[in-house]
């Protein structure tokens, strides 16, 4: 793989898709992948627990980026999963032997190149495999600033970890990419789609409604033991900042996408304003994280009302971004 170049990205799945498509000839940035795959979201599902804490997510389900990019850009991809570990290992070597670079889904816990501190049981990590030397795989993990190596044993264990969102050895790569892609209509369509979804979803657990629902749950923490309350709050921030969210739960990355989109539409002002507004919202998410982190460290009583109110304010300010985007005529 002489001409493959590792690039540092903010998020695993969008990073893999950007690096992989670039290698196969389509020059597309990570924020553009993120924006066009329409996965920006907010999800709060109190009855689905991970590590004893309710599911909080700032994006749509794993694999949505791969699938939506495939659909929206009319790229044909092969996604292969395996029922046998051995078959999955052989197939990887076969594809590398054909000179392909391959995306893979894996658990974070079993990857030996991750710092031990952040090796949690999260099964929907994505990485790019671009070669093999003796019994080690050459890996471009988008959330790392340098390329890494991983032992065969560790990679196999990570690819075949079981449980929630089990990767089943998933490998993926493009088989055909259109020569000319006009991004403009795809951008217009998806901007409107996401804005309507975030503003008007009928489901109380997603979009801006999800944020307000979580704010209500934060108020209810007053009646809970303090240790639980602190873990609950910490979990919201971890999901926002830990392992590849681009900072601020993807809001900064989406702002970058809007800026790039504005340039494609000859410096469109509506999109540029929406980008600035989204950057501000990203900063507010970071302030929210900071206030929670301080509350966790402090021995004083937690001001739940203040924290909940911050989240309500964020939902109002994010609404302004989506309303701005609905004004876009392109």
């Amino acid at each position: 793989m002489g001409n493959f170049k590792h690039t540092h990205h903010a998020h695993c799945e969008s990073g893999v898709m950007s690096s992989m498509l670039r290698y196969y000839g389509l020059d597309i940035s990570e924020p553009m992948i993120f924006g066009l795959s329409n996965v920006l979201n907010f999800v709060y599902i109190p009855f689905v627990k991970i590590g004893g804490m309710p599911l909080v997510s700032y994006r749509s389900v794993p694999k949505a980026i791969i699938k939506n990019i495939q659909k929206n850009l009319n790229i044909q991809m092969n996604l292969e999963t395996f029922s046998s570990k051995q078959r999955g290992e052989e197939r990887l070597d076969e594809l590398l032997g054909q000179g392909k670079i391959v995306g893979a889904q894996s658990s974070v816990y079993w990857l030996d190149y991750f710092p031990p501190e952040i090796r949690f049981h999260f099964n929907a990590h994505n990485l790019l495999i671009y070669g093999k030397e003796s019994e080690e795989y050459l890996i471009s993990d988008p959330v790392f600033d340098k390329s890494v190596r991983c032992s065969k044993e560790s990679l196999s264990k990570a690819r075949f970890a079981k449980g929630m969102m089990a990767p089943k050895g998933l490998l993926y790569y493009p088989v055909s990419i259109p020569k000319e892609i006009d991004l403009k209509p795809i951008i217009s369509k998806n901007l409107k789609k996401i804005s309507k979804y975030m503003l008007k979803t009928p489901m109380p657990i997603v979009g801006l409604r999800g944020m307000r629902f979580l704010a209500k749950s934060i108020l209810k923490l007053r009646a809970k033991p303090k240790k639980y309350a602190k873990l609950f709050l910490g979990n919201i921030v971890r999901m926002q900042e830990e392992i590849g969210t681009g900072g601020a739960g993807f809001r900064f990355m989406y702002a970058s996408f809007l800026e790039e989109a504005s340039e494609l539409f000859d410096g469109d002002l509506t999109l540029r304003e929406a980008s600035s507004l989204m950057l501000e919202v990203g900063d507010e998410w970071r302030d929210f994280a900071l206030v929670i982190a301080k509350a966790i460290k402090s021995k004083q009583d937690i001001d739940y009302k203040k924290i909940a109110q911050m989240l309500v304010n964020i939902s109002k300010n994010e609404a302004k971004v989506y309303k701005k985007l609905l004004e876009f005529k392109g």
Partner: protein
């Protein structure tokens, strides 16, 4: 966020790695930059690690006191809980709970033990051994 305000707090939870963050650079354009860490994030990651570590130490005490089988300890050592272990092995939770009993654990079949070994990344010998009280 301005690119100059992107925290570079050398968080221990980042190990040697850096994270890419999108921020506004001096020319007004949004670019990505490597961050060595952020104190706020380190606090919440550390909180999660401490919680796991507490569970591991509690489990160690119970196993050494022979109240629980080694399996109980290795589940927490591998940062799992009953739900994750159940999903990773395909066993029902109540049957796993039964195997936490040292007497029942001593008698379970090798076939079943091997499933636990695969899920926890242990050998047959390791999983039967009562862990030493190293830093517990």
């Amino acid at each position: 966020m301005d690119i100059k305000s992107v925290p570079q707090d050398n968080s221990s939870t980042y190990g040697e790695m850096k994270k890419a963050i999108y921020a506004t650079s001096s020319d007004g354009k949004i670019k990505s930059i490597g961050s060595t860490g952020w104190d706020a994030e380190e606090i919440v990651t550390q909180q999660a690690i401490d919680d796991l570590e507490e569970s591991r130490k509690e489990a160690l005490k119970k196993v050494i006191a022979k109240e629980r089988s080694p399996l109980y300890y290795y589940m927490y050592e591998t940062r799992m809980d009953l739900s994750v272990l159940a999903q990773s092995t395909g066993f029902f939770k109540w049957t796993i709970k039964r195997d936490f009993n040292p007497k029942i654990f001593d008698k379970i079949s090798e076939k079943r033990l091997l499933v636990y070994c695969e899920a926890l990344g242990k050998s047959l010998e390791e999983i039967k051994k009562i862990p030493k009280d190293i830093d517990g």
